[in-house]
Structures are given as C-alpha cells and as structure tokens.
C-alpha cells in the first residue's frame, strides 16, 4: 500500500522486538506461559523465540515436505503439534523443538489442529476425516467421512468436538463415540468459533455471511451483507461479542439482550484493505485486528460492539496471524514476508479498562 507509511507504535503499543523467519509466516503461538513464541512458515520452517527479547532459541526446516499447514500449542505450553501437506502430524516439545511423535494420516493435507482446553486431546482434520489423539499421540477416535473436506474444528467441552464442513456442523462425543448434534444448513462453512460456554456456534460462510446457532434453543440466524467471506471470527472471553472479518471493516455482533438478531452490529473502520486476522485478548473487551495492508490495530469495544482504537502499528505486509501473550501484556503479529513483530501492550487493570466505557 503506497499510501501507508510505516509508523512507530502508537497508543498502547510499545516497542518490543522483531525477527524474521524464512518464508511466509502462517502460524504462531505463545508457549511456556509466554516465555517462548513459536512461528511456523509455509515451507515448513519452525522457529522458537524468547518471548521477551526475540532471541532465537531453536529453529528447524522442512518439517513437512510440501509445506506446513497448521500448528497448535498445547494449553500447558510444554508441547505443540504441527501438520502439513505430507499428511503427517508431529508432536514436539517446546524446549528444543524435538519431535516426540510423528503420526502418518495418509496422503491428504492435514489442515486443522486443535488441543482440547484441558490438553488431554488433540483433534486433527485431514480431508473428510477427523482424528483425536492423546498427548502422546495415541489414537483415541476417528470420525466417519464427512460429506466434504472438513473446514474447521473446535472443542465445545472436554469430550465434545465440533466439526464444520459443507452443509453442516456436527458435535461428536469422542469418548462415547456418539454424534450429539447436527446443525444443518446448505452452505459452505469456511470458519467456525464457539462461544466459551459452547452454546453459540458461529460460522463464516462462502456466500459472504455469518451463520450462527444457539445450541440450547436450536435457534439459528444468518447475518448477511458482507462484501467478502468471513474467514476470521473471534469471541471475547465472556461470549458476548463476536468479531468477524469479511471486509476492511471489523463487524462486531453483540449477543447482549436479544441480539444480535435485529440489531445493528458494531463496525470498526481502521484498515484500508480486508481483515486478514482477528483475535480477542484472553481477558476483556480488546480485539486486535490485522489486515492485508499490513496494519495492526487494537480496539477497545463497548457492549454494543462499537469501539475505539487504543493502539496501532504497521507490520509491513499482510498480517497472517495475531496472538496475544497469555497475560495480554504483549501482542504478536506475523506477516506474509516472514516478519515477526511483537509489541508490548500497556498493562490494563480492571479500573483502567473501565475508563474506556
């Protein structure tokens, strides 16, 4: 974007560190309680940096022939899993990046990885199937073939896994090998997020809409009018606000009261090109957004989904992913040129954040 000049961190962003990986950075996450930041690039390079300084701790190349597709760090932060076009899943330790276990799932791309919240299970999606393994890579469950390639997976509680594909979201009790619920809707679901209590299921759809269901009531609704497909969704920790991509604006639906049906969403217009990543802070009503134009903005939201920017920075190129440090005191962004930016984020107190209301 010629009309965007690099600028120094502003507002609540403070100088942190910058590093580089070897290719387009596609996945990242904080490990060892924020002491380590791990980045994966599209070619299969994995890099571990010191969380505070950005000093490289270890790196490895060509972990997946054909390229890396996904990475997930265990909630305890001691181990992580990666997957790729080679059809493999690797479980590695964070300290040294050593492979503990390699799982070979065949020829299909392995595109999605999710640890359950208690860290006992790792869910893995490859083509039309979903597998569940335990921490040491023992297979615990396999789904039947889905009607199409599985496009998203997420855990709704410790034993229940949700999968999205063309036409439906399915909830599996993976311990008792049962299908708990099927939510059907004719459309290609490209993304899925659950509210923290697991009741609200939100899916971005190829036809430029967000579809959501409330599992407790079975009610569903469709939010249309997006210029693009909402590939990125994020719930805040209270489950009241859902931030969605789909254009250069962040559209925020509020589930407070009777909403969001029949309400106007909040709209945050901070970027000049479409949103390419979205992440709510671990606690509180802060949402960080990254855009194809390379800008990163943190916004403080009100209950109705509207809000104000509280900090911004320029990451240099399309922002592939954003990750808040577990204590929300730092924010990391990785970009299409393989640049890693970590900014310190001003410590917020409950008292302080009320100041924005």
């Amino acid at each position: 974007m010629p009309d965007i000049e690099p600028f120094s961190p502003r507002g609540m962003f403070h100088e942190g560190w910058t590093a580089e990986v070897n290719d387009y950075a596609i996945a990242c996450g904080w490990a060892l309680k924020g002491k380590q930041f791990i980045v994966g690039d599209v070619a299969g390079g994995i890099f571990a940096f010191e969380g505070d300084t950005g000093k490289i701790i270890w790196e490895k190349e060509n972990t997946h022939s054909g390229g890396l597709l996904a990475m997930a760090i265990h909630p305890e932060g001691e181990i992580f899993a990666t997957s790729g076009q080679d059809g493999n899943v690797q479980i590695c330790n964070c300290d040294e990046g050593k492979v503990i276990k390699t799982l070979d799932l065949g020829n299909g791309w392995v595109e999605h990885l999710k640890w359950s919240n208690d860290g006992l299970f790792l869910a893995v999606a490859s083509s039309k199937r979903v597998y569940v393994f335990n921490e040491i890579g023992e297979e615990k469950w396999i789904s039947e073939d889905h009607p199409s390639t599985v496009s998203a997976i997420t855990w709704s509680n410790k034993n229940e896994l949700a999968t999205a594909c063309y036409g439906r979201v399915t909830f599996f009790d993976i311990v008792n090998n049962k299908t708990n619920q099927k939510l059907e809707w004719q459309g290609s679901l490209v993304s899925m997020e659950l509210s923290p209590d697991g009741d609200i299921v939100a899916c971005g759809s190829q036809d430029n809409s967000v579809h959501f269901w409330r599992r407790s009531t079975g009610m569903d609704a469709e939010m249309t009018g997006y210029p693009g497909k909402p590939s990125h969704l994020s719930f805040d920790d209270s489950g009241k606000l859902l931030a969605t991509s789909g254009s250069e604006r962040i559209t925020v639906w509020s589930f407070i009261g009777n909403g969001p049906e029949g309400t106007m969403p909040g709209e945050l217009c901070h970027h000049t090109e479409p949103i390419s990543s979205l992440a709510f802070s671990n606690k509180g009503m802060l949402v960080a957004s990254g855009s194809r134009d390379g800008s990163v903005v943190a916004s403080f939201l009100k209950k109705d989904g509207n809000g104000d920017p509280v900090g911004a920075a320029f990451a240099g190129d399309l922002v592939g992913a954003i990750s808040w440090r577990p204590d929300d005191c730092a924010i990391a962004a990785i970009n299409a040129k393989g640049v890693v930016n970590v900014w310190k984020f001003k410590v917020r107190t409950n008292l302080f954040s009320k100041g924005f209301k």
Partner: protein, 449 residues
C-alpha cells in the same frame, strides 16, 4: 508492500480419454520458462511428471440461495488459498478437471471468491475433444456440450482417426455451439504451447485481434457492394453460380463507412425477413425490397437498375459477387462500373444443437441503467442457460468503452480503452442453451438511446 501481478490460471477440461494428461505432460515437459503448479482432479492411468502437482477431489459447493452462479469449487479455493502463500514457487497454474466436471463453478470460483480473484486471474478455458467420439458424447451428456460452450480454445484431438470431411463437419458443429472459441486440430494432443497458455482469453482485445469477426452477428447475406452511379440505365449481370436463384436487397443512398454499412445491413436484415418478390431476367430491380433473382437459365442474365439522379447503390446479396461473377454495367456505354466498397458478412446457417451463440451488434450508445435492468433480468431468468457472455458496450457519457465478461449470472463490466474517433457501438456475444435470439436483440434494442 509491492503490488503483485496476478497469477494466470488455465483450466483444462475434456472427457476422460480426450488426451488431457498427454497435453498436460507435453506442456510441463516443454521449455517455456514457466514454473507451473498443477491442480489435478482426475487421476488417470498416466501420471504427471512434475514437481508441484496437487491432487484434490472435486467439491462443488452450492449456496443456500440456490443461485447457480454462486456455486464454486471448494477444493480449488482451498488449494489456491494455500498456493497464494507460495508465490515464489510458481508463476502459472493449470487446473485439470474431470471429464464430468461442469466448467461453470470452476470459472466462477475466479469471480466469486474475493480472496482468489485478488491473487489469480482466469487466463482461459481449454477443452480437449476426441474427434472420433465427440459427436456421440455431445448427444449423450450435458457436460460435454457445456465444456464446448465454455471453451476459449477447443483442441480437436485425435484427428488422425477421422476423415477430413468428418472434421470439417465437426468443426462447423462446434463453431455453431461456440462462436468465441478457437479450434485447433491436433494429433496426440500435440499443439503449440502458446495456443493454450497465456491466452488472456478474458481479455477482449486479444480475442478481437485474433478473430476480428467473432463478435459479429450473422446475416442472411454474405456480401455488400456499394456502387457510385450517375443517372441512367444499368444492368446487373450474373453468370452461372452455385445456386439457381439468389436473394438481394438494393438500397439507395448507401454510404461507404463501416457505420453506414452496418446501418444498411440492419435495414436489409429487416427486409430479408419479408417474403421475397421473384424477378425474371430482364426485370427491373426495385429499391428497398427483398427480391429473389431467378438464375436458372444458362449463360449471362441481366436485371435492370434505373438511376434517376446520381446516388450510391448498396447491393446486399445472399452470395458473394465472385460466385456469380456479378457485374454492374452501364447500358449505353457497355462499360463495367466497379464497386467503390465491398463488405463481407458472416453468413447465417442452420443450428442443430441446443447450445449455440448469439451475437448482438448495434451502433450508438446505451443507457447504463436500462442495460443493467435488462441484463439483470435476462441473467436472473436465463442465467442458468447462458454459459458465457463477452463483449463491449458504449455507455452514453462515458469516454471509455465498457468491457463485459460473464459466466452464467455473474458479469463484470469494466471501463476499457477510450473510444477516441471510433464510432460508438456495442457488441455482445452470448453462448448458451436454447437462447432466443430475436427476444434478446429486441431487449437490447430497448436499452439503446
């Protein structure tokens, strides 16, 4: 951030056994300096010998609105979405679809999905047909006629197995179905690479350069000659030709410019629609009438043209002048008067297949709002049956011509080069199934100012 060029994508379609994999391997093995990523849906008996090959099962995703133009290929979105992060590894993409694939969703993926369309551009659709079997396939399956209808290039493969006569008949059948397409004959899928890659087939200027007449409508006449005549008596003399009779319309005050010729042609089309009056040799030719010259007799036959005051006469004839060695002779001087200008027209002929092409050409400007309403209604009613739309439009008040591209109901209208001194005109081609030419032309005419 740098502004990147979009990666061109060629779609390769055709029935199993038409030679897709052979062509693919030929393309990949040739020295063309391109690094090609291949997305393959059909795993044939022949493997592909190259590095960046991605297998993907065909996944056709229809949307809840039931709109056919929103139907996309999920597998392509997924694979291309990953490929766009690896731009340093390739600079061209080839998508090989199965013989049963509907090309519509494949093409639509490049229009409908913003993430894909911002990184990739559809360069062209290449359809391979097996010359020995396509006749039967066209009768049996909708897919094969759709693949023909969508094609920017038709590779008529395995021509060594078919007689020349059969090839000519086949080509004319395929041409009827798709007037936009370029037909290339091949044995063993051997075609020059530049005829299938980097076509810029969605770039109208390129197509017009290659086939300047493709957008032209068909006419009931093949030829026009304009004669500058003083007052007096003239004879129109014809020798024996391919037909025992010939239709003709003679117009007075016929101009010689392209625009005036097209105007004359439009008037003649209307006159040709009326019943012809038969003239025997020696009769006088009336002006502005559809007439039918009787040419059964041996030797030269003459018809009379009376000119009261100097004028330019336009003769719009069913066949070309050459075919009958047709001449205009000033009677008293017995001197041949050569034509000032001649113009050949795309002659119309019978259409047998359900799938066919319709061309609309009109001079003048259109009202953008009226056109939008008409196109919107046309595409919502007939979008399922309209496979491809190409052409350009003159919007009133807009200095640039507007280029139209469409796949089913989707269309894009983009400002293109400036008109400059060129006469303002509109040319549109629709390829589809069971299209009503007259209705569509009338609909378009209502959009003219």
């Amino acid at each position: 951030m740098s502004i990147k060029d979009k990666v061109p994508v060629t779609i390769l379609t055709g029935f199993l056994g038409s030679g897709k994999t052979t062509l693919l391997n030929r393309i990949l093995s040739e020295e063309h300096g391109k690094r090609i990523a291949v997305i393959e849906n059909e795993y044939g008996e022949v493997g592909i010998d190259q590095g960046l090959v991605i297998n993907a099962d065909e996944e056709v995703f229809e949307m809840s609105n039931g709109c056919i133009c929103c139907t996309v290929r999920g597998d392509l979105i997924r694979v291309l979405g990953n490929l766009m992060k690896r731009r340093d590894k390739f600079d061209y993409v080839l998508v090989e679809t199965t013989g049963l694939a509907d090309p519509g969703p494949v093409a639509q993926t490049f229009f409908m999905d913003e993430e894909i369309s911002s990184e990739f551009t559809l360069d062209g659709i290449v359809t391979l047909v097996d010359a020995a079997h396509i006749d039967q396939q066209l009768g049996r399956s909708d897919e094969s006629s759709e693949q023909v209808a969508f094609a920017d290039v038709l590779v008529l493969n395995k021509t060594d197995l078919v007689s020349d006569d059969a090839l000519v008949t086949l080509e004319s059948r395929l041409r009827d179905m798709n007037r936009m397409t370029r037909i290339i004959r091949a044995e063993n899928a051997k075609v020059p690479i530049e005829t299938v890659l980097n076509l810029s087939a969605f770039d109208l200027d390129q197509i017009l350069k290659r086939r300047p007449t493709f957008l032209e409508p068909e006419y009931p006449f093949e030829w026009t000659g304009v004669y500058d005549l003083d007052a007096g008596k003239y004879e129109l003399m014809l020798e024996e030709g391919p037909d025992p009779e010939m239709s003709l319309v003679a117009l007075v005050n016929q101009g010689e410019s392209e625009e005036e010729l097209k105007d004359g042609a439009e008037s003649s089309v209307r006159l040709y629609a009326e019943k012809a009056n038969t003239l025997e040799p020696g009769n006088t030719i009336p002006y502005g009438d559809h007439i039918n010259l009787k040419l059964e007799d041996k030797g030269n036959k003459s018809f009379i043209l009376n000119i009261e005051k100097p004028t330019k006469i336009g003769l719009f004839t069913q066949h070309t002048a050459e075919e009958f060695n047709m001449k205009v002779i000033k009677s008293d001087e017995n001197k041949e008067i050569p034509f000032k200008t001649e113009r050949f027209w795309q002659a119309e002929h019978e259409h047998d297949d359900e799938v066919g092409s319709i061309a609309i050409e009109r001079f003048g400007d259109v009202d953008p709002e009226k056109l939008n309403t008409w196109m919107g209604r046309l595409l919502s009613e007939k979008g399922v049956d309209i496979f491809r739309t190409k052409g350009f439009i003159s919007y009133s008040g807009n200095p640039r011509r507007i280029v139209f591209q469409g796949v089913h109901m989707l269309f894009t209208a983009q400002p293109d080069k400036e008109w400059g001194n060129e006469p303002r005109r509109n040319q549109l081609v629709f390829i589809g199934r069971n299209l009503n030419e007259k209705e569509m032309q009338e609909g378009f005419d209502k959009c003219l100012i």
